[in-house]
């Protein structure tokens, strides 16, 4: 894929991270502040709250989306750093293919974890 397309996806992924990470930080770390205006829970990491979020389609979708965006953004940035070390053609191919495979594997694993979470939560509850 050409650098223009990858770079555009990189910026797009950054915007997705900005929104979804903001949401994550708000829910998980600003609970005391949110409590002042009467929303949010007192203990975001309490088991019942974790299980409730795991069972929510909205949260599952945002987790998978955030995972994909973060993986692409991070791995593309890492690839750029490696490319600036001026690798040869073969090494470039190895880096591109290697990072793509690791990224896809992590995405599949993370997605499986997000989808399996409701079942695990119900067993734990």
């Amino acid at each position: 894929m050409r650098d223009r397309t990858l770079w555009t996806w990189h910026i797009g992924a950054g915007l997705v991270i900005l929104v979804l990470l903001g949401l994550h930080m708000t829910i998980m770390h600003l609970n005391a502040t949110l409590g002042l205006v009467g929303v949010g829970s007192d203990e975001p990491i309490a088991w019942e709250n974790v299980a409730a979020r795991a069972g929510s389609i909205f949260f599952t979708v945002t987790y998978v989306l955030l995972l994909g965006a973060a993986l692409f953004h991070g791995f593309y940035g890492f690839r750029n750093i490696l490319m600036e070390l001026s690798p040869g053609r073969t090494l470039r191919t190895i880096i591109n293919v290697g990072l793509s495979l690791v990224g896809v594997a992590l995405f599949v694993f993370g997605t499986w974890a997000a989808l399996a979470a409701p079942g695990a939560a119900s067993m734990g509850g």
Binding site: R2, D3, R4, T5, L6, W7, T8, I11, N80, M83, E84, S86
Partner: protein
């Protein structure tokens, strides 16, 4: 005035002759400083007095030709455009532009830069080749359209921006600020229709995507051009094009020159010297 009263300036000059020297080395020479002396004047004086074999590249002596770009006290500058007095020191260290191979002494090998420049097609690309080769009319362009690219057209290809760019220093794939800035200059020109051809090159690995936006190119440009801005504008245009959000336009039409009485203070164009039938 006695000789003792003449102010001296010391030039540290980095010298290297491939095939003779194993590595570059520094030489120091003191020369008399005269009012208004530029670094280029100093080099000529140096050559006259104590270093006759010193080599550098220069031509116009007025900041137009871009030949005398060199590293002066750690900063890429034009030697002809730099007064020694403005350096604020009586020691002038002169070295060839970094990020280029050295041909001899202060002469950098600028060929890779110009080859990349050529690959990015820095000229008007239009269908009416006959009109370009033998103009009969004028390409219409408004002053507002001219403003879009005017500052980028001030580039004199001296290579100072390339010498200052940290990405050019470390990444041989990167095209660099001068070629990219000039590609943007033509992409923005309303008379040009070559965006589709240039984007084929610019969308690849040598395009603007590797720019870290350090901004050093714009800091050192002796003509006040802002290549860093050109590169960011280029990214925006290329991404807009990918997302099909770029406003398409046809190259400026060919029109009759404006009619009416000619203002007397404007001299007539000289007779053509080339392209006569």
């Amino acid at each position: 005035m006695t000789d003792a009263a003449v102010k001296q300036v010391t030039f540290h000059v980095r010298r290297f002759e491939p095939g003779v020297d194993r590595a570059p080395h520094w030489e120091s020479h003191a020369i008399p400083l005269t009012p208004g002396m530029t670094v280029l004047d100093g080099l000529w004086k140096l050559k006259e007095l104590s270093a006759p074999s010193l080599a550098w590249r220069s031509s116009c002596r007025m900041g137009i030709c871009g030949s005398c770009g060199m590293l002066i006290n750690g900063r890429p500058r034009l030697a002809c455009n730099t007064q020694i007095s403005e350096l604020g020191t009586d020691v002038v260290a002169v070295a060839p532009l970094p990020n280029f191979a050295i041909i001899k002494d202060l002469v950098p090998d600028l060929r890779p830069m110009f080859e990349t420049h050529r690959e990015l097609m820095p000229y008007l690309i239009r269908d009416d080749v006959a009109e370009q080769d033998d103009p009969t009319l004028e390409y219409w362009q408004s002053p507002h359209e001219l403003e879009h690219y005017l500052q980028f057209s001030y580039c004199i290809k001296c290579g100072c921006c390339m010498a200052a760019c940290p990405t050019v220093a470390t990444d041989p794939q990167y095209a660099g600020p001068m070629p990219l800035g000039q590609a943007q200059r033509y992409n923005t020109d309303s008379r040009d229709g070559g965006f589709a051809e240039r984007k084929e090159v610019l969308s690849g690995g040598s395009g603007p995507w590797r720019c870290h936006f350090a901004g050093e190119c714009s800091q050192v440009c002796p003509k006040g051009v802002d290549p860093a801005k050109a590169i960011q504008l280029m990214k925006r245009e290329l991404v807009s094009d990918l997302l099909r959000m770029r406003k398409r336009r046809d190259p400026a039409p060919v029109v009759q020159p404006p009619k009416g009485p000619r203002r007397e203070e404007i001299p007539a164009a000289p007779p053509r010297t080339a392209g006569e039938a």
